[in-house]
């Protein structure tokens, strides 16, 4: 097998699910899903901590005063869209259209950066204009840790996509890298899943009080 895995996949003589065509691919696929199961608990622990501490703002602004929904809405739209674009990328992967796949992943990455930019801007505002910092209260610590962990995941996802795209730019899709692209996109969707709960539980519920 092995060396064969590096041959570029050609229409007409390739498996339908290139991501799961080799044993390594199958292992990666399953292992990554298991990992996501663990991540669920990880984020749940952070959400739980946040919920337990969200009213401990001391002298700092409480959540309903702090949060503005415009930016969060924009961020949500960006991230949701990036989820769709990575679906497109995988769609093209399944059709063995490498160029289009790279293109859509490229768009995904750009959206990811846009999201990250917004988040940094948001944090900057909180710290410099609202006096809401990591160390100002337990609420501050919990907020930045939860949202920051998500942000950290975004950063890692971006690095991952970029490395993959750069490494494989010249050689096209093959059985060796198809699983890698596939699980990277799973990861990206998962980040989106977490965000759905963040905007609901942290921002919207924060606003409602």
């Amino acid at each position: 097998m092995s060396a064969e895995e590096l041959k570029e996949l050609k229409p007409g003589q390739s498996p339908n699910e290139p991501e799961k065509a080799t044993l390594e691919g199958k292992n990666k696929f399953l292992g990554f899903w298991f990992f996501l199961g663990g991540e669920t608990v990880l984020f749940a622990s952070l959400f739980g901590t946040y919920l337990a501490l969200k009213n401990s703002n001391l002298d700092g602004p409480p959540d309903e005063e702090l949060f503005g929904l415009e930016l969060v809405f924009i961020m949500t739209m960006i991230l949701l869209t990036s989820s769709l674009t990575s679906v497109y990328a995988i769609y093209h992967m399944k059709n063995l259209d490498f160029k289009k796949m790279q293109l859509w992943f490229g768009i995904t990455v750009l959206l990811g950066f846009a999201f990250l930019g917004c988040e940094i801007y948001e944090f900057y505002e909180y710290v410099h204009h609202e006096g809401h910092t990591f160390t100002s209260s337990a609420f501050g610590s919990a907020f930045y840790t939860l949202v920051g962990f998500h942000g950290g995941h975004v950063v890692f996802g971006l690095l991952w996509f970029i490395t993959l795209m750069a490494r494989n730019a010249k050689r096209g899709l093959n059985l060796y890298n198809a699983p890698k692209y596939y699980i990277a996109s799973l990861y990206w969707h998962f980040i989106d899943v977490v965000w759905v709960f963040i905007f609901t539980v942290v921002y919207l519920m924060g606003k409602v009080g």
Binding site: L30, W33, G37, F73, S83, L84, T200, L204
Partner: protein
């Protein structure tokens, strides 16, 4: 699993993929709508007792869409991923319930 498919079969799969892509788009549209509803409910400042459960429900449905369509959990061969994800959700729920109910001060 058949390993290599000839070009007609490939065409067939292409078609199927395309069809699926249509569902993905619908899914996406629904997700956007749910998000809009959620934000709308909060901005509209309705009763909190009502808003909170509704937006949580919407979030859950939306996440379900992500999982089943975007992440293909509806496809076959995803039995174990689903089992493990739900086990994770189970532990996650226990954790969150504990944190919001018995950490009380």
């Amino acid at each position: 699993m058949e390993k290599y498919t000839n070009s007609t079969a490939r065409e067939f799969h292409k078609k199927k993929n395309k069809e699926e892509m249509k569902y993905q788009l619908i899914t996406f549209a629904l997700m956007i709508i749910f998000t809009l509803i959620s934000f709308g409910l909060v901005i509209g400042d309705y009763n909190a007792m009502l808003t909170v459960p509704v937006i949580i429900l919407l979030a859950c449905v939306q996440v379900g869409f992500q999982l089943y369509y975007f992440m293909h959990m509806s496809h076959k061969g995803h039995g174990l991923p689903a089992l493990f994800l739900y086990s994770g959700v189970f532990v996650a729920l226990l954790t969150i319930i504990a944190m919001v109910t018995i950490v009380w001060w």
